[in-house]
Amino acid sequence: MTWHKFFDLGPLSSHPHNLFYAYAAVWILQGGYVAWIAKNWLATSKARR
């Protein structure tokens, strides 16, 4: 498998590209949660001072 094939989305109805959607969803959710923690961390820093 190549990068080209990984990002080649094609029409939405073709399921081979579910691979890309799955990997993207994982990183969006995990990254989003870490970003949310970071945001709250900074907010508590501000509350402290």
Partner: protein, 248 residues
């Protein structure tokens, strides 16, 4: 009570940063293995590679509930004995519940994206999927109940009790759903027990990577909750001191 001043020590921060770097490196290796190096599966083609991200999340989604249960039991034990330790256990409980929900959500989502090309349907009510849905519901309802019952000690106690109920419920619903599904025809699906050895590198690197990531996120969320608790305690202490000054 003498509260320690917020730790300015750099050791935890450096450790967290190092852990983060290691997790990212392992995940990068896992990604490379899963996408480029491991041979393409014969019947499913490239879509089968979803499995390498799906499996670690599904496994870890079953691990964090135990952390949640253990932390809740520790909270109930320390509640009357050592309030500050009890608060720590509560912070671990809320962190592990949130991480559980994240991992199980991803497990369900990637499973669904895999099911469509594999079985032709997004959602088959088979034993494993249904069990994970129940698991997801239990911990979402735990988090909602936490929110409803307020952030005080009473709310923490109620949440800990709910967590014990949830932990007991998981194996029972697992058995019930197994029996339910073996009685009715279910879509036939390949057992992932029989995995060819050539796929192992992708599986193991990804399990290791996501475990490192998961426990790091758990630690970060825990320290965030701890930080909030410390700020609250300080504010309460200052309020008490201020009220003492007025009465003098």
């Amino acid at each position: 009570m003498q509260l320690e001043t917020p730790s300015r020590s750099v050791v935890p921060r450096v450790a967290a940063a190092a852990w983060f770097a290691v997790a990212l490196v392992v995940l990068a290796i896992g990604f490379r293995q899963a996408i480029f190096l491991v041979p393409t599966e014969a019947t499913m083609g490239n879509v089968q590679r979803i499995f390498y991200y799906h499996l670690p999340h599904a496994i870890l989604g079953m691990v964090f509930p135990y952390v949640n249960c253990a932390a809740s039991l520790a909270f109930l034990y320390w509640r009357r004995r050592d309030p500050w330790k009890a608060l720590g256990a509560d912070a671990l409980a809320v962190a592990s519940a949130e991480v559980t929900v994240i991992f199980v959500t991803i497990g369900l989502l990637t499973g669904s994206l895999w099911a469509k090309p594999a079985w032709g349907i997004w959602w088959a009510w088979d034993a494993r999927t249904t069990t994970y849905l129940i698991l997801w519901m239990l911990y979402v309802s735990y988090l909602i109940a936490r929110k409803f019952s307020g952030g005080n000690d009473e709310g923490h106690t109620l949440a800990a009790v709910i967590s014990v109920f949830a932990a007991i419920d998981v194996p029972i619903s697992f058995m019930a759903i197994r029996w339910w599904r073996t009685q009715h025809p279910a879509p036939v699906f390949g057992g992932d027990g029989s995995l060819d050895a050539s796929f192992y590198p992708a599986v193991w690197w990804n399990i290791a990577g996501w475990a490192l990531w998961g426990f790091l996120v758990l630690g970060l969320r825990y320290s965030l909750e701890r930080r909030r608790q410390r700020i609250q305690e300080e504010a309460a202490l200052e309020a008490i001191e201020a009220s003492l000054e007025i009465t003098q």
